[in-house]
Amino acid sequence: MTALRAFAATTVRVVVLLAIALAMLAALLIATGHDVVPALSAMVRGAFGSYYAITSATIVRMVPLALAGLAVSVAFRAGILNIGAEGQLLVGAAAATAISGTLVGVPWSIGIPVMLLAGAIAGGAWAAIAGALRLRFGVLEVISTIMLNFVAQYLTGWLVRGPLQEPTQVNPQSATLVPELHMPVLLEGTRLHAGVLLVVVVAIGVWWWLRSTASGFRLRAVGATPTAAASAGGIDVPRTMFGAFLVSGLLAGLAGSVEYTGITYALYENFSPGYGYTAIAVALLARLHPLGVLATALLFGALQAGANAMQRDAGVPSVVVSVVEALLILLVMAADRWRPSRADETGT
């Protein structure tokens, strides 16, 4: 019942905030001299207009957004401002690409989990750098994770022109993943892959972990009041925080390897259209609730799919979606100011 009520409350909240953000988008479109009605209708068509749009544009984008959104949620729950999901995602994709070269002839039932795991581990390791800098040297993770995002971007740029470049050495991208190791497609004729099932399972897993396990409780306690967690709860705060860095990085790295095995089948420089940054909006709009993240990721997947269609059909630059995302974050910040607690007070 509580879960149901939380779901209803979140839905109302999201709808209201989304309506305000879309009204602002309409105002922005008018201000920049675009026709609002054709633009917005192109957006809706691009996100929900057809079977193909829903499965192969919207839901397919939801997958990396939800995994990265879960990564951000776990970190923020622990009071860690991990802005580095973007870099962790890239490193995860790079690790999956690197290991795929050794998996020729391996059955998919082994090959795919190995690639996914490699991505998760790499993402976790990348986040661990920021964790160590924070806990050992007191470096704010906000700055370090942003710096590591840039480093990951240049690392990817080097990999796809160097060690991981495709055999003909012409294009700055990796070799295409052999079809036997592609994530299974769920619906014939669409791009919808099994990653969407994985995301749902992972979200439920994270929800259960935070809600029902001792380590999940410690994480939430540290995020709520670190001093009380240490003194009254006897919690090893640095250890718990480091664990949160790791899990957050694992999830973001998984987002990268799932995207690689399920959608792109190759690594290249602009592998992520900013999924790691959008993930912050995804997590905040869901009030850091793991199940809420599934819903808000779907919403942002639809927004991005719609924005692409808007650019194609109505000539509105798709980057406008960043403005909507930013406005949503700001609106959430303003709205939550009036709430008793910052994180979700129901459910977990």
Partner: protein, 313 residues
């Protein structure tokens, strides 16, 4: 040992001195926008506000300068850049200072907002193809006599006016922060807000003004990128300078003169990478040089972070 080396726009004959002079010149040029952004940020951080949205002010300043310079010339471009940076900072202040929302998340949203908005406006005004766009650029003024000094002459004294302005702004800020009542009030708000309130200082008003100042300075940084360096606007051309500026503030120990020196160090790191590239050190991937300023930031923070004022680290 004579060979041609190109750094930025200037081609020089190589002798150790000439390389050094060219390197210094590139250093000062690269450091100028970083110094503007970091000096502004040092003021707002002294008031206890970390503005991650600095990046947003820089990119907004860059685009506004581009648009305004076409119509009003270089001076108008700088003014528009500062105004745009200030406006973006005002939005940040509304949430982070006015509503006391989380500074970091607000700042992240502001950066996302400004990057999206500038991209939208740019592609709307100049077309999605990104028409080759050139703006008038700030002229270089070589100062008499001192610009002929060996090594440092051209580097420090044959620069556009926007660089010379820094030679005044940095010491002036240092004096203002340490020696004036307003500077003391600023530091009190950041370090001992209770004492500031007891002394009749309004923390919110002080923080608001500090954030607005930082925004205008970041806007000037963006204008400098366009009008004194690139001569054109490119989407996302701020390229993380707002974040690097925050690291520079830490390295400079929140003191204006220290911050200016730290900006020079970062400028030098970037210029060295250009030098190495032009000397054809192909054994080292060029991405490593591109990543160098970010790695340097991490290193600097690791060494210095624990020694900052209590509210800032």
């Amino acid at each position: 040992m004579m060979q041609e080396v190109t750094i930025g726009v200037s081609t020089v004959d190589v002798g150790a001195l000439a390389v050094g002079a060219a390197l210094l010149e590139a250093t000062v040029r690269t450091a100028t926008p970083l110094a503007y952004a970091a000096l502004g940020e040092s003021v707002s951080e002294r008031a206890g506000v970390i503005n991650i949205g600095l990046e947003g002010s820089i990119i907004a300043g860059a685009l506004s300068a581009t648009i305004a310079a076409g119509a009003m010339g270089v001076g108008g471009g700088f003014a528009a850049g500062a105004a745009a940076g200030l406006l973006v900072a005002a939005l940040f202040a509304l949430f982070a200072v006015g509503l006391r929302a989380d500074q970091i998340i607000t700042g992240t949203a502001i950066t996302l907002f400004a990057l999206g908005l500038t991209g939208t406006v740019y592609r709307t005004v100049y077309g999605s193809g990104g028409v080759a766009l050139t703006t008038p650029t700030a002229a270089t003024h070589a100062l008499p006599i001192i610009s002929t000094l060996p090594l440092i002459g051209r580097a420090f004294f044959a620069q556009p006016l926007v660089t010379y302005a820094l030679y005044v702004i940095a010491p002036l800020l240092a004096w203002w922060m340490q020696r004036t009542h307003a500077g003391l009030a600023l530091r009190a708000v950041g370090e001992y807000p209770e004492a500031a309130i007891a002394a009749g200082i309004s923390p919110r008003r002080t923080q608001l003004l500090a954030v607005l100042f930082a925004g205008a300075m970041a806007g000037l940084a963006g204008a400098t990128l366009v009008l004194a360096q690139a001569g054109t606007f490119v989407e996302g051309m701020s390229a993380g300078r707002g974040f690097i500026a925050i690291a520079i503030v830490v390295l400079g120990r929140w003191r204006p003169l220290g911050v200016a020196a730290a900006a020079l160090l970062f400028g030098a790191a970037t210029s060295l990478q250009t030098l190495f590239q032009s000397m054809g050190w192909t054994g080292i991937p060029y991405q490593l040089f591109l990543a160098a300023p970010y790695l340097l930031t991490l290193l600097v923070l690791a060494i210095t972070a624990k020694r900052g004022p209590r509210r800032l680290v």
